[in-house]
């Protein structure tokens, strides 16, 4: 414990510490000399390309990938073009930018994933320099070409190349440049000698850092902070200028007194830190600069690289991996020599308590008197988070726990969460895993991302343990990891389909929300169709199965799965796919076995492909539907002959279907059409297309009684209907004479009341009266009333001694004019009622 401050160095108000993370597990002969190195932030992997400048085919460069602790993950001989830059994406993929502007993407284990080009212009003028950067939109690539222009892609997963405007006066490579993200836009900051420019999509703006030391004639190096908020510039006079990246404010300027060009420079600033600070690295020397004039200098034994992090800088050399950062506030408070901060006192109290000394009480009292105990606990918990050694963490947490005992109502969450976080962090920091995350970084990247990173490293058991330990919802936690595991598993060629399918299903059995189709897709992509089909069987969402089955050309299965899902659109999709894939015969055969698909396809054809519809009916020998089809088609024909021909086809089909009624009625229709046309030609009346009823009405209304009669007989129209028809037609025509003749022609099958009513409807009362006498006794009253003959109605009602009829008449009598009649009716009613 006494040694906690051993590696602290003061700089102005603050302290800086350098912690050793790992002794590197790799065995590099020449260290990092002459290597192209890329280390991903957040304790990510390291890629090395040895001898990348070699061009002879006999001595190809070697690409190696290691974890942060130097555990080898992959190694292979580089056979592609000359690599200018290596870099990592946010999802732990390695980007190798070649001289010709091609970018190759590899996974963590050296597996080739894809490549893309940075455009023709880049490949023609060649890449001079390149930088890989991260923004809220993903990972980006910026290239400076031989044409002295910058080309930029903000997100390599959705490449939109942007060529930035020209930099005025640029004759060769700029002295230094950097990419930064500002106002939701990626910009390039370029220094050409003492001139500084900002390049965005549209313009190149000359800028001047406020208060830059006048001795400088050139800006030789620059770096942007992790958050893009701050900028540091190193001038040829050895001054480090630090300010905001929008160049509005200067924070400090320090003279390093070293005028040679540095190898690397990086920000070393933690969130909420007390001062801005940057780290500059020369051969064998590392200098930390801050606000004050002093600097901290570290000697370096070996070639090293700096990896900027959110809260510090990692230093990787051929043998060691260290973290340089400002000592966090809580740690400083507690461990600073002679600190009287509450946390420090609590730690001391706990130490004494463990020694069973009464001094523990004295310390505690001192904290409690200032009522700072909860503050002390908080400090200890926080400091534990920032400490790297589990022993120190434990000591601090024990002290916190001890302090908590004397507090009531102290919320436990902070303590509990910190314990959990540290357990996870210690697990991933382990040499074998090699992810040296700080607590601050962990909180920033979230558990989700950490799980992803573990999955990329195929550390599935650890990932699952962490999910379970942190109680991550299954959907985002365990299930997701298992899915990735399964996707990896199905690519293992050495195991048989059966065994893999079984292992996968057993492992994933009770995990919620697993997408088996995704796993199956992976299996298919690695050439294992049979396995993919087996896996798809486990997919509960049949809709999800269909696209892959189609891709694998398992169309019958795809079709039945689509039907199973109930989603008709999906069925249609498969059907349309099959229609294009198969020959017509096979296609129809397949539909035949799937009635649901068949009827949907018929619906489609009905609207889109009439002819296919006919073929389908033909195939099924569905004569009834074929008949209907011809009937429908007949209406589309303008020419009568064609129409009748189609109807004849319909008749044939109806007979085949043994539907005699349809056949006969269709024949009738043909007969009617012919008749209509004949009459049209002879008499010039428009008739074609009318119903039999309408035809007869028309004929009667133009006086062609004979022809109407003929139809009546030929088509065996029921008497009743014909009488109604003729009665109405004549009334419309107001041919009363003919009507009378008709009424007398024989006994009316509909009685004579309709005659009365129809006449009245056409406002001919005298004519109506003619028929009243012919009406049957039951309808007499109604008939009299219809013509407005109250007396007649009364007479009839009384004669029939029908009470309700008498009442009906009574209700129609007017009290003023029919006084007498009413009396008579009332009397009659009374008599009827008596009986």
């Amino acid at each position: 414990m006494a040694f906690v401050t051993a590696n602290w160095n003061p700089l102005g108000e603050a302290f800086y510490r350098k912690i050793e993370l790992y002794e590197m597990g790799w065995n590099l002969k020449d260290g990092l000399r002459e290597c192209l190195v890329a280390a991903a932030p957040y304790g990510g992997p390291i890629a090395l390309l040895k001898g990348h400048n070699r061009r002879s085919p006999s001595a190809r460069p070697q690409l190696e990938i290691y974890s942060s602790s130097g555990v080898p993950l992959a190694s292979f001989t580089w056979k592609s073009g000359v690599v200018k830059q290596l870099g990592w994406t946010v999802s732990d993929d390695l980007l190798c930018v070649q001289e010709d502007g091609t970018v190759l993407v590899y996974d963590l284990f050296g597996g080739f994933k894809r490549h893309f080009s940075m455009g023709n212009e880049v490949s023609q003028s060649q890449v001079l320099e390149t930088k890989i950067f991260h923004s809220p939109y993903g990972t980006g690539v910026a290239i400076f070409t031989g044409a002295l222009r910058f080309t930029l892609a903000t997100n390599i997963d959705d490449i939109k190349l942007r060529r930035l405007p020209e930099v005025p006066g640029l004759q060769g490579a700029p002295t230094c440049w950097a990419v930064l993200t500002q106002d939701r836009q990626s910009k390039v900051l370029v220094a050409n000698g003492s001139h500084l420019f900002v390049l965005d999509n549209t313009a190149c703006t000359h800028v001047t850092p406020p208060g830059l030391s006048p001795q400088a004639t050139s800006i030789v190096h620059m770096c942007v902070s992790f958050s893009y908020k701050y900028l540091a510039l190193l001038t040829d006079s050895g001054h480090v200028w630090m300010g905001t990246s929008n160049l509005k404010e200067k924070l400090s300027e320090v003279d390093t007194k070293i005028k040679s060009s540095p190898k690397q420079m990086a920000w070393c600033r933690r969130p909420k830190s007390q001062q801005p600070s940057a780290v500059v690295m020369w051969d064998g020397l590392l200098v930390v600069v801050g606000e004050c004039n002093e600097t901290i200098q570290y000697h370096l034994d070996d070639d090293s690289i700096l990896v900027p992090e959110l809260d510090g800088v990692r230093i990787i050399s051929g043998t060691h991996h260290e973290l340089l950062q400002e000592v966090p506030g809580a740690c400083e408070e507690i461990f600073k020599i002679a600190s009287m901060a509450p946390g420090a006192l609590l730690l001391e109290a706990h130490k004494e308590y463990e020694k069973e000394s009464q001094k523990a009480d004295e310390y505690l009292r001192e904290i409690k008197e200032q009522s700072l105990l909860s503050e002390a606990v908080r400090q200890c918990v926080e400091a534990a988070g920032h400490e790297y050694e589990p022993e120190t963490q434990k000591t601090l947490l024990r002290a916190a726990s001890f302090g908590k005992c004397f507090l009531s109502n102290f919320p436990p969450e902070q303590f509990v969460i910190m314990c959990r976080d540290l357990r996870v962090l210690n697990a991933v920091r382990d040499f074998t895993v090699g992810i040296p995350l700080t607590h601050t970084q962990f909180k920033q990247m979230t558990v989700q991302v950490l799980i992803d990173r573990l999955v990329y490293r195929k550390l599935y058991p650890l990932a699952i343990e962490i999910c379970r330990y942190l109680k991550t919802p299954e959907y985002q936690g365990v299930s997701r990891v298992l899915k990735h595991w399964a996707c990896y598993k199905v690519q293992q060629k050495e195991e048989s389909d059966e065994i893999i399918a079984k292992t996968v299903s057993v492992k994933l059995a009770d995990a919620a929300g697993i997408s088996y189709s995704e796993i199956a897709t992976k299996a298919y992509e690695s050439g294992r169709t049979e396995l993919a089909i087996k896996l798809l069987e486990f997919e509960p969402r049949s809709g999800e199965q269909v696209p892959l089955l189609l891709k694998m050309k398992k169309s019958p299965l795809a079709l039945s799965k689509a039907i199973e899902s109930g989603d008709t659109d999906l069925v249609y999709t498969v059907v349309m796919y099959l229609k294009n894939e198969l020959n017509r015969g096979d296609f129809f055969m397949m539909l035949r076995n799937q009635p649901v698909a068949l009827s949907l396809y018929k619906q489609f054809c009905k609207h889109q492909e009439q002819d296919t519809l006919k073929d389908l009916f033909n195939q099924d020998d569905d004569h009834e539907e074929l008949g209907n089809f011809y009937v429908k088609s007949s209406y589309k024909e303008q020419r009568l002959e064609a129409r009748i021909a189609l109807l004849q086809s319909a008749v044939d089909e109806y007979y085949k279907a043994k539907n005699e009624f349809s056949a006969k009625t269709t024949e009738d229709e043909m007969r009617l059409l012919r008749f209509q046309r004949k009459l049209e030609e002879e008499k010039g009346e428009t008739l074609v297309g009318f119903s039999l009823h309408e035809t007869m009405t028309t004929l009667l209304s133009v006086g062609l009684h004979k022809h109407a009669e003929q139809l009546y007989k030929d088509f065996r129209v029921p008497d009743k209907r014909f009488w109604w028809l003729k009665l109405k037609a004549l009334a419309v025509k107001e041919d009363w004479e003919e009507l009378e003749k008709f009424a007398k022609s024989k006994k009316s099958p509909i009685g004579y009341l309709p005659f009365v009513e129809v006449c009245i409807k056409h406002h001919n009362k005298p004519e109506a009266k003619k028929y009243v006498s012919k009406v049957t006794p039951e309808q007499k009253v109604k008939a009299h009333l219809a013509v407005g003959d109250m007396e007649g109605a009364a007479e009839a009602a009384i004669e029939r001694r029908n009470e309700s009829e008498i009442s009906t008449v009574l209700s129609r009598c007017s009290t003023t004019t029919d006084q007498l009649l009413m009396e008579r009716l009332n009397r009659a009613k009374a008599t009827v009622a008596k009986k």
């Binding site: 299954e474 959907y475 299930s479 919620a512 929300g513 509960p540 969402r541 049949s542 199973e564 899902s565 109930g566 989603d567 008709t568 659109d569 999906l570 249609y572 999709t573 349309m576 009635p595 649901v596 009827s599 949907l600 018929k602 619906q603 489609f604 609207h607 889109q608 209907n628 009937v631 429908k632 007949s634 209406y635 589309k636 009624f661 349809s662 009625t665 269709t666 009738d668 229709e669 009617l672 009318f690 119903s691 039999l692 009823h693 309408e694 088509f715 129209v717 029921p718 009743k720 209907r721 009488w723 109604w724 028809l725 109405k728 509909i750």
Partner: protein
């Protein structure tokens, strides 16, 4: 604005709000000013979700109807198509996009309702316009809240598609809609059903439930039971003329998407001096739902009881207005004035419904209406259903509207479990001769769905069904009903009887009858997460969702509401349907006219 959705037992406004939220989110995705191009069919259903004001708030400046050619010019940044996923509509959209002015390009978006379709996107791709769209999205609008206890998919052709064309798309949407409903109102523990479609929907629901495993909704179930009923289990009810107030409004004037258009004459504002010179010519459009107090009170009454209810209401309202004479103090006057707007609304509502009732009465008192009703009732009670009906014959002879004839003939067939071949052929021939041969396809359709059929060797089982389920009640009380049969003045709708029996004493008591009706009957249980089991308070009612696949009539809804309100019924009903139908609209949806769609 949607107060009618709060009043029921289940707050259906949650569903409406969810739908509105989705709509707003989509509109905001197309940032900037926009014009909507509507698939005309959708405007009605959308009106139930959002008014124009909501669209306007989200920068919708113009609205057009989808049609061929070029979209009218409008100075907007975005053109948004609101369409059903239909191929013929895609062709129109493609034409629209292709003829867009290349110099002033606007951004295009498609919103598919209720679901996006690969088939349609494929069609757009074939037409070479798929890439012209910035956003292609779907607006899941399956069950639309229609009233406080009523959800409708507003899918007109659902019955036709399911039973005639064997296209079960609307059932898929129904199942999806039920899943949405369960996401908002909790898992429904019990599912009952009768009929092929019901079985299919239940199967899909159970399957979807498995698919969503892992994303359980932690919501206390609001519904206890779901009852799925196929329309073809009860083909009779929609054929009968509805005799409730709302049912008659629908039969006579037809209610569309919650609105009715009425002849304007009766609603003319009577102003002094004008003497009715300028009668309005435009139809009077009224919204009908339970937000209107008076309407909620009378909509489900038998029409014969409406007159009394209206005059009682009239007395109450005029008494309320008389109150002003009693108001002496300033305080009293102030109170009177504060109630005035409410009273005036009540008065105008009363005036409207009095006018509507008069319009209906003109029809219900006609001899024609009476005769036809008499025949309907004869059929329903099984009188002479096996012979040619002289009444129908006369109606054909006089060429009454075809749909009226079809309704009656179908009813006779249903009530007789099919007609004798001779009788059937006679009717068919009469219809074809009178109304034209072209209707042969319609007749075939009616036969296909079972509305018309030749008698099989099987015994006519309708009388057994009628007796067991008490479908005919001699002494139906129209004024103070004690049984659901009041909605048809004697006939108790079969569908609702099934629902009633299910609640008590249960379907086991009518196994025999269930077997006579088409399709399987079934019961399923859905696991409810532990801790979400409802603890019912003593006296608390169960809530049952009755889903009519293929449509429901207003009279059936009235009957279910009657059951909900009945003392000691123990169950309250929420109704869902593919569409609100009546005999006329139903038969119309099954007709085929080959002369239509001709070039």
């Amino acid at each position: 604005m949607a107060s009618h959705l709060y009043c029921g037992r289940v707050n259906l406004n949650i569903l409406r709000e969810a739908a509105r939220k989705d709509l707003r989110e989509f509109l905001d995705k197309c940032s900037g000013s926009k014009a909507i191009v509507w698939d005309e069919y959708l405007t009605g259903p959308f009106g139930l979700i959002a008014q124009y004001s909501l669209l306007k708030e989200h920068e919708v400046e113009k609205m057009f109807t989808l049609k061929g050619g070029r979209i009218p010019s409008a100075a907007v940044k975005n053109i948004v198509f609101f369409v059903r996923p239909r191929l013929e509509l895609m062709d129109i959209i493609a034409e629209n996009v292709a003829s867009e002015d290349k110099l002033q390009p606007r951004e295009f978006h498609i919103l598919f309702v209720p679901r996006r379709s690969l088939l349609c996107e494929q069609r757009l791709k074939e037409k070479g316009v798929l890439n012209s769209f910035t956003n292609i999205d779907e607006y899941i609008l399956d069950l639309i809240p229609y009233d406080g206890d009523l959800l409708s998919m507003e899918s007109e052709s659902s019955f036709r598609e399911c039973y005639l064309e064997n296209d079960q798309t609307s059932l898929y949407h129904a199942a999806k809609g039920l899943m949405t409903l369960q996401a908002l109102y909790g898992t429904i523990p019990q599912i009952f059903g009768k009929g092929e479609c019901a079985r299919h929907v239940a199967n899909m629901m159970l399957r979807m439930k498995r698919e969503f495993a892992g994303s359980h909704t932690q919501i206390l179930p609001v519904f206890d039971t779901l009852l799925l009923l196929d329309r073809n289990v009860d083909l009779l009810t929609p054929l009968a003329t509805q005799l409730t107030y709302e049912g008659l409004i629908d039969e006579i004037f037809s209610i569309t998407n919650g609105y009715v258009k009425l002849p304007p004459e009766k609603f003319a504002q009577k102003k002094q001096g004008e003497g009715g010179k300028d009668l309005p010519t435009e139809a009077k459009k009224l919204q009908l739902n339970s937000a209107e107090e008076l309407y909620a009170e009378i909509r489900d009454k038998n029409f014969n009881a409406v007159g009394a209810a209206l005059s009682k209401k009239a007395k109450i309202i005029s008494a309320a207005f008389e109150e002003r004479h009693n108001a002496k103090t300033v305080g009293e006057i102030k109170q009177f004035v504060s109630q005035l707007p409410h009273m005036q609304a009540a008065r105008s509502s009363l005036a409207n419904h009095t006018s509507i009732a008069e319009l209906i009465k003109d029809i219900t008192t006609s001899e024609e209406f009476f005769d036809s009703l008499t025949v309907e009732q004869e059929f329903m009670t099984g009188v002479d259903t096996d012979k040619v009906s002289t009444y129908i014959e006369d109606c054909i002879a006089q060429k009454d509207p075809l749909i009226k004839i079809l309704r009656l003939v179908c009813m006779q067939s249903v009530c007789n479990n099919g007609l004798k071949q001779k009788v059937l052929d006679y009717y068919k021939k009469e219809i074809l001769q009178t109304y034209g041969y072209k209707h042969i396809l319609t007749l075939k359709n009616l036969e296909k769905v079972g509305l018309l059929k030749p008698q099989s060797t099987m015994r006519n089982n309708y009388p057994t069904i009628r007796k067991t389920l008490k479908l005919w009640m001699e002494d139906a009380n129209e004024q103070n009903p004690n049984d659901i049969s009041y909605v048809y003045s004697g006939y108790a709708p079969l569908s609702v009887r099934l629902t009633q029996v299910l609640a008590r004493p249960g379907w086991r008591s009518i196994e025999e009858v269930l077997k006579m009706l088409p399709g399987p009957h079934f019961e399923e249980r859905q696991q409810v997460p532990t801790g979400l089991h409802k603890k019912r308070q003593p006296g608390e009612n169960r809530t049952t969702l009755v889903f009519f696949l293929g449509g429901v009539t207003y009279a059936e809804i009235a009957a279910l509401r009657f059951l909900s309100h009945m003392e000691d019924s123990g169950t309250e009903y929420i109704i869902a349907t593919t569409k609100l139908i009546n005999g006329t609209s139903w038969i119309k949806s099954l007709m085929d006219n080959p002369e239509e769609n001709l070039p």
